[in-house]
Amino acid sequence: MVTLCVLLVGIAPSAFAEAADVTGGSAMPWWGWSSLLFGFAIVLGVIAVIGGVGGGVMFVPIVSAVFPMHIDFVRGAGLMVALCGALAASPHLLRSRLANIRLAMPAALVGSVGSIAGALFGLALPAHVIQSMLGAAILGITALMLFARRSEFPRVRKRDRLAEFLDLGGVLKDRATGEERAWTVHRTPIALVTFLFIGVLGGMFGLGAGWANVPALNLLLGAPLKVAVATSGFILALNGTAAVWVYVANGAILPIVVAPSVAGMMIGTRIGARILPRIHPRVVRRVVILILFVAGVRSLLAGILGG
């Protein structure tokens, strides 16, 4: 499986290049590409859920490595995939009270400003530069996925003044035991600066930012892991929206790329959620990290050689 996945990212581009000639013309009809993208997005959705990563972070590096569209359209589609996935999951997470709207609001406020700046900056840069930067960012993300520790219930000794003023916190109920534990946060100002930076990266590369939001909420702010994961989706929806508007205004949203991607990813994540109990997620997570690593190296090299 590992070999197959790595081969897909490493070798598929040359195979797909035969279907799209160098003049930009295509031997494959539009519906062939759209169907291929739809199937590919389903597979990515399944892997993303089982591997415990967001679909958005896998979509851009892998699709830009395998498909012939310009990276502007892949980033636009990646943002739409992340936004639609996050929005579709939000009602359930909000109702379960795992996502905390008040914890999300300040983070999303600064994050969406960063997201707009990142999107504008990213669309202004030449493709080979953005490709190199994306490669470097993806390699950084794989390192974060490998080495960042998570804490189920971080210890927060004293909340900071801003957290005190906004009364950031809540109560987490353990469904198994019925036990309720109060939680709060600290280091809010530093975390807000971090969310600004995360927004820039998300907007620039069209990546969902769950890979960064969760550690920032959990390890930096000190929110319980379940709250961090659920709240991250809501922040992603708000930041993603800000960046998507910039991509729409710049004409970087192509319906025949975006619609099959969004539909495929939504179907894939549902399939993934169903087969998740039967599969060993740790092994799949390692495969995902390996695929991302190969896609990151490929993107970095393509950017450097393309320049």
Binding site: G24, V113, L123, A237, V244, W245, V246, V248, P255, A259
Partner: protein, 134 residues
Amino acid sequence: MQRDPSLEDVQMEFAAVVEWLVGIGLVLLAGLFVLYVTGIVPPAMPLSEVPAHWDLSAAEFRNVSGTEAGWAWIGRITSGEYLSLAGLVAFPTATTIGLCILAGLFARRKAVIWAVMAAVQAAILVFAATGWAT
């Protein structure tokens, strides 16, 4: 600031709003895309030509398709691809409208800081949507 238990209810009401808006978004996305690809609403650029140009940057593609940046595409909504784009835009629109409603829900409970924060967030999204920064 003392925690107001009624603010937890805002979260529940907002969840219902988002669910409703996302449902509409999904119907629009699927329905308008079908109208586009089946040719019921003919596109300005034939579907068969799109793969020949999608290796261009977004700015170059706009030149080829004769569309200006910003909201100029809305004037061509009678063409399939722009109608389908309107279906996709339903999602960011849902978030933006949802935030405006959220600001109202907070304001109704006199949670001034949260109402202002939601309103500022909505204003940022509206600013991004106007395309002025482009």
